[in-house]
């Protein structure tokens, strides 16, 4: 008869990582995230890699390119490879619940990034709608400061609805704008811009249609960088006070733009820098693999708004 149980799977196989011991033990870690074709992920996991290398662990960092079938394969392969910990940034959480369960059954610790999932040891979560909302809040406050009902701010949104979490961010941005700056603004364009070149091209065109577009909200670093380049070119580097870009990711390049007084006004990040994020992540890995029991399955990450007031401070981390 048909079952969905793997035959002969004994479950709860003993793997070396489940024993508790000294922190100089070597661990085997498998990481699968949505995409490495993205400055934020690449930056953070570059650091994570350095840290793990320093600790002498075995590790594999993979991207599934927004494809849950690929991600499932990767999880399956990690299980085969008897890793001690799987960290997954789900491309689609529903798709991988069953497979994470199999991993847990095999005695592997599971850490989920971003989503609150059932079959995991801990979930390190972040609410993308809320992140978007925070971006939107920054933008809305800026709008209220510089614009009014009879001098409406023209806002362009750099989106990428092809990716669900980025769609959530866009939703959050729009919600915050509507709640806080209602009546003082008008969204003139919502165009895709994951990478800087597309963002630049689209921004140029948007400014053709609406020459007085001065505010951009972007779901990520690419849209920020491209839009910033477009504004810088248009104004010859003299960014007026009522012009601004509000975005996510808070990468080094964005922080530098903020410090340099370019169009980028604020970017919402988390721990402050890639390095800090990586340290937090690797710390969690280690605690998990050493068998520490966490009181809560869900650990919520705080959001951090970086603007001209604190950018220098966080930038120092990169130097």
């Amino acid at each position: 008869g048909c079952t969905t149980k793997e035959p002969g799977s004994t479950g709860g196989q003993e793997t070396s990582g489940t024993e508790t011991g000294g922190s100089d033990k070597t661990f085997k870690v498998g990481v699968t995230i949505q995409s490495l074709e993205n400055a934020y992920w690449a930056g953070v996991f570059g650091e994570v890699e350095t840290l793990m290398k320093g600790k002498g662990w075995d590790y594999t960092i993979l991207a599934c390119n927004d494809n849950s079938a690929t991600q499932i394969q990767q999880i399956e392969n990690f299980v085969t490879n008897q890793v001690d910990l799987i960290m997954v940034h789900p491309s689609d959480p529903n798709a991988i619940e069953d497979y994470l369960k199999k991993a847990m059954d095999a005695g592997i610790k599971v850490m989920v990034w971003d989503d609150a999932m059932q079959n995991s040891t801990i979930n390190w979560i972040l609410d993308n709608t809320k992140l978007g909302y925070t971006i939107g809040t920054e933008a809305a406050n800026f709008v209220n400061e510089h614009y009014s009902a009879d001098n409406k701010a023209k806002i362009a949104i750099m989106n990428y609805p092809q990716t669900p979490i980025l769609l959530e961010r866009e939703t959050g941005i729009l919600a915050a704008l509507e709640e806080i700056a209602s009546g003082n603004y008008e969204v003139v364009a919502q165009q895709p811009a994951l990478d800087a070149a597309t963002a630049l091209t689209n921004m140029e065109t948007i400014m053709q249609a609406n020459p007085d577009t001065k505010i951009v909200c972007s779901i990520g670093a690419g849209g920020d960088i491209g839009a910033n380049e477009a504004f810088m070119t248009k104004t010859g580097g003299n960014i007026p006070a009522d012009m601004g870009i509000f975005s996510a990711d808070a990468t080094q390049q964005q922080l530098e733009a903020i410090v340099a007084g370019q169009a980028t006004r604020a970017s919402v990040g988390f721990e402050g820098s890639n390095k800090k994020t990586a340290e937090a992540v690797v710390d969690l890995y280690e605690r998990l693999m050493e068998g520490e029991a966490f009181p809560e399955q869900n650990i919520v990450r705080p959001l951090l708004v970086i603007d001209a007031s604190n950018a220098e401070e966080y930038l120092a981390d990169y130097k």
Partner: protein, 315 residues
């Protein structure tokens, strides 16, 4: 005698590549040859294998189908949508989804055969359109929450054998049957060899093309259903870029990109190579970036080895 040996080498070169690669991974990590891992690989290649059958037909008639990835995506989204939002039963949702896959294939056939657009452009256009449609239909977010039984297709077992593997084997058997035993399979080789000569031999070339692209759509659709059941949630990015994995398998399997030559059995080798490569690299802790490089190099080496063998055999 000598020529037979040469022919065997020429015909089976890709299996040698497969064996070599298999041995490399087996030595590198003993876990690779564990029976559970071998079953895992088989399960993992099922989707690829199923889609590669239709693509084999397409490449045999000297065509190409770049819409396969989008068909997989759309079938995912449509199937899920019907089950979750439209109250369709599991069976009827699957059937409608397969029909959608096939109809996109028919549309490709129309553009290529009736209008006369080159296959690469026609299927690129449909790829783009249906990618957009899948996004619109899903609103860009995953659709999930299917009947538990739907999982059986992609995750179930029949005795010790995973159901998707059984489906793949059945499909390969069917594909092989079409190519070797059915009369229209003969037409595929003929049309791939020379359209004009085929037409003058009484083959309805246009109809054959419709059939081939419809079959490609149908197999891609089935692959999409298996994928959907494996992931148990439909993503609007499900099949993104999948067509190139599929084409790679078929070409690794020695099907001539200029049409007319190729065997289903070697395509199986192509599929398995991609399967063990993906699996083996993860077992060997190869990073994502490095995997790209290794994949590209293996592809070039495998196809290059094959090309050189054939060159040697003919001159």
């Amino acid at each position: 005698m000598k020529s037979t040996a040469l022919n065997i080498i020429k015909e089976k070169a890709i299996w040698m590549v497969f064996v070599a690669l298999f041995l490399v991974f087996a030595f590198a990590n003993p876990l690779f040859v564990s029976s559970s891992n071998l079953f895992t690989i088989a399960r993992q290649v099922a989707v690829l294998g199923i889609a590669s059958i239709g693509m084999t037909f397409v490449i045999l008639i000297a065509g190409i189908d770049l819409s396969v990835g989008s068909i997989i995506t759309l079938v995912n989204v449509v199937g899920a949508y019907l089950m979750v939002n439209s109250g369709f039963g599991m069976v009827s949702a699957v059937l409608v989804s397969l029909l959608v896959g096939m109809l996109i294939g028919v549309l490709n056939g129309f553009l290529i055969s009736t209008i006369g657009i080159s296959a690469i452009i026609a299927t690129f256009a449909t790829q783009t359109v249906f990618k957009g449609l899948a996004y619109i239909l899903s609103g860009g977010t995953p659709i999930y929450g299917f009947d538990e039984r739907f999982k059986i297709i992609g995750q179930g077992y029949l005795g010790p054998v995973p159901v998707p593997v059984i489906i793949m084997i059945a499909c390969f058997a069917l594909g092989s049957f079409i190519l070797n035993k059915s009369y229209f399979g003969r037409y595929f080789y003929a049309v791939g060899g020379s359209e004009e000569a085929s037409r003058l031999s009484g083959i309805l070339v246009g109809r054959t093309k419709y059939l081939v692209y419809a079959l490609s759509g149908l197999f891609a659709g089935l692959a999409g259903i298996v994928m959907l059941s494996r992931t148990n949630s439909a993503q609007p990015t499900a099949g993104l870029g999948y067509e190139f994995d599929v084409i790679t398998c078929v070409v690794l399997g020695g099907v001539s990109i200029t049409g007319g030559y190729g065997k289903m059995s070697n395509v199986v080798a192509g599929v398995l190579i991609i399967g063990i490569l993906t699996n083996g690299m993860v077992l060997m802790n190869v990073s994502t970036y490095m995997q790209l490089i290794v994949k590209g190099i293996v592809l070039a080496l495998a196809v290059g080895f094959d090309s050189l063998q054939k060159k040697r055999a003919t001159t």
